[in-house]
């Protein structure tokens, strides 16, 4: 079943991305690399690829850094209510992205949105922005919303990673007179590296195929400012230009297969160690 729906379409993609397959003719002709040539020659396809890369890289950095700080805060700083905080911070992760997007459309509204109201309220008027309609800013607003939603999941993984670090290391370090900064750099971070690798890979795979958060927040606009690979794939698909759409998906498929293979290798390798 898995083969039928995930593997066959993937392989079929390799063939169909070299064709002029579309909704308007029943014939499918082989046209060589024309689809790929088109992708690499038109500005909006390029934009979608570069936006996807920016989205992926920035979300990886933001999520990793913020989630790590939160994980440390919850496992080292907070003594009580640890589970309560974790439940609340994880909550956005289970809410459908489509819903999150709709709520943030109102929060980020330039005139009436809660975010700008709040900034005005505390006297930071100059920070108020056209969050989703300013082409230079829209992509980063989308990134912000996505980070808000995704942070809890990454944090939970990191907390689990922190819990398996033996406390003896910290006790020994304290005997040697290490401060908490030393402990972080010389114990926590190195021992957390395998966990960070996994979260980075998860964020990477997620970022490359991002779709719904963009779709509901900006629909790829303004202009092509927030267009990502999967939003273009869907738009081409709805226009009936299946060939180009397939070619673009196939590019992504190849990139992600390589990343996915690598992720799985790391995870299986860790299993052997454990």
């Amino acid at each position: 079943m898995y083969s039928l729906f995930m593997v066959i379409p993937g392989l079929l993609g390799f063939y169909l991305s070299f064709t002029d397959w579309n909704r308007y003719s029943s014939e499918i002709n082989f046209i060589g690399f024309q689809n790929f040539a088109l992708i690499f020659s038109k500005q909006n396809y390029w934009d979608s690829i570069s936006n996807t890369i920016i989205f992926t890289v920035v979300t990886i950095v933001l999520k990793t850094v913020i989630a790590l700080m939160l994980a440390l805060l919850l496992s080292k700083g907070v003594k009580r209510f640890f589970n309560f905080y974790r439940v609340v911070i994880y909550l956005p992760a289970i809410i459908p992205m489509i819903v999150v997007g709709i709520v943030f459309r109102s929060i980020l509204h330039p005139a009436t949105g809660v975010l700008n109201e709040f900034l005005r309220g505390i006297g930071l008027d100059f920070l108020t922005q056209q969050w989703l309609t300013n082409p230079d800013l829209a992509l980063y607003s989308v990134i912000g919303v996505d980070t808000w939603k995704g942070i809890g999941y990454i944090m939970a993984i990191m907390i689990a990673g922190l819990q398996v670090i033996p406390t003896e290391y910290y006790e020994a370090a304290q005997l040697d007179g290490a401060n908490s900064w030393d402990e972080f750099w010389h114990i926590t971070l190195p021992l957390l590296m395998p966990t960070l690798t996994v979260t980075t890979m998860l964020n990477l795979l997620y970022g490359l195929k991002v779709f719904d958060v963009v779709w509901v927040l900006t629909n790829g606009g303004p202009g092509y400012a927030t267009e990502t690979v999967y939003t273009v794939v869907f738009k081409e698909f709805s226009k009936g230009r299946y060939g180009v759409s397939t070619a673009l998906s196939t590019l992504l498929f190849v990139v992600m297969s390589i990343c996915g293979y690598w992720l799985l290798k790391t995870m299986h390798a860790k299993e052997l160690e454990a």
């Binding site: 999150v100 809890g152 990343c259 799985l264």
Partner: protein, 273 residues
């Protein structure tokens, strides 16, 4: 004790602040779902001046939420059952019978956790199998996307069940099917419950697959119905909020009841203790 508490005060304050940031949007939805149209226009933080529970009734009638709810429930439950069935059986066979073919199959299946779906070519497969725009098609599709994860999670768990149990059961005259259904499956309960909850939540939130493969609005799940409703009533935030509250209510309830399973399940794949 008291000094300890004082020492952790800054950390607690920070944690409370962050929790607030995470919670504000959900709070906004809830208060605004109770306001009238004028007051909810700005989707503000203030409490409603008068409670308008009838928003919920309006939404259920106009947003066709009843059908959408039943659809979502049907897709999510159906697919979850398929996932649990196929994941447990597949994982059992692959884990107990380690031929090199099975090792390869395990690797191949778990690769699916990371793989993207090629939606466009998938339509061709769906057409060929006559599953496009059908309830059964969507359920099977949902299930197919989550089976790799289920196999991965349950496979690791089966390894912790001693093989001697199988052997003892076989000596007592158990066939492979009774062995699985009466002995292994009950032992796997924590693993398959985790898989089931996680799958259910994901299926409930799924937006892309129905967007591509369901054309008729009568078959739409909650996510598509909400999205469509938002398009129609963009400025009536009280109704949109009520609609959303009803959509997320089931997942929030499932989450609060099963949060231990959820958090441990989501992280067990990534971190091996």
């Amino acid at each position: 004790m008291k000094t300890n508490f004082l020492k952790s005060m800054p950390a607690n304050l920070l944690a409370i602040l962050i929790s607030l940031v995470m919670f504000v949007p959900i709070y906004l939805l809830f208060v605004n779902s109770l306001k009238d149209e004028v007051q909810s226009r700005a989707m503000g933080v203030e409490f409603p001046t008068s409670i308008h529970l009838e928003n919920y009734l309006t939404v259920i009638e106009q947003g066709k939420l009843g059908t959408a709810f039943v659809n979502s429930l049907l897709y999510a439950t159906g697919a979850t059952i398929l996932v649990v069935f196929f994941s447990t059986t597949t994982a059992f066979v692959l884990s107990r019978n380690r031929s090199s073919l099975n090792r390869f199959l395990y690797f191949f299946i778990t690769l699916g956790i990371a793989m993207p779906i090629n939606y466009v070519t998938l339509t061709k497969v769906m057409q060929a199998t006559h599953l496009i725009n059908t309830v059964a098609g969507l359920i099977i599709l949902y299930a197919a996307t989550k089976i790799p994860f289920g196999v991965f999670l349950i496979y690791a768990f089966i390894e912790s069940i001693p093989k001697e149990i199988d052997e003892a059961a076989i000596i007592d005259g158990c066939g492979p099917f009774t062995l699985f259904s009466t002995i292994i499956f009950p032992l796997l309960t924590p693993a398959w419950v985790t898989t089931a909850i996680l799958s259910f939540l994901d299926f409930w939130s799924e937006f892309i697959l129905p967007l591509y493969f369901l054309q008729s609005s009568a078959k739409w799940p909650m996510t598509l119905a909400v999205y469509n409703f938002f398009g129609m009533f963009e400025h009536k935030w009280n109704l949109v909020s009520a609609d959303i509250v009803l959509t997320i209510l089931p997942v929030v309830v499932v989450y609060l009841l099963g949060q231990r399973y959820i958090i441990s399940g989501m992280t067990s794949g990534a971190v091996k203790g």
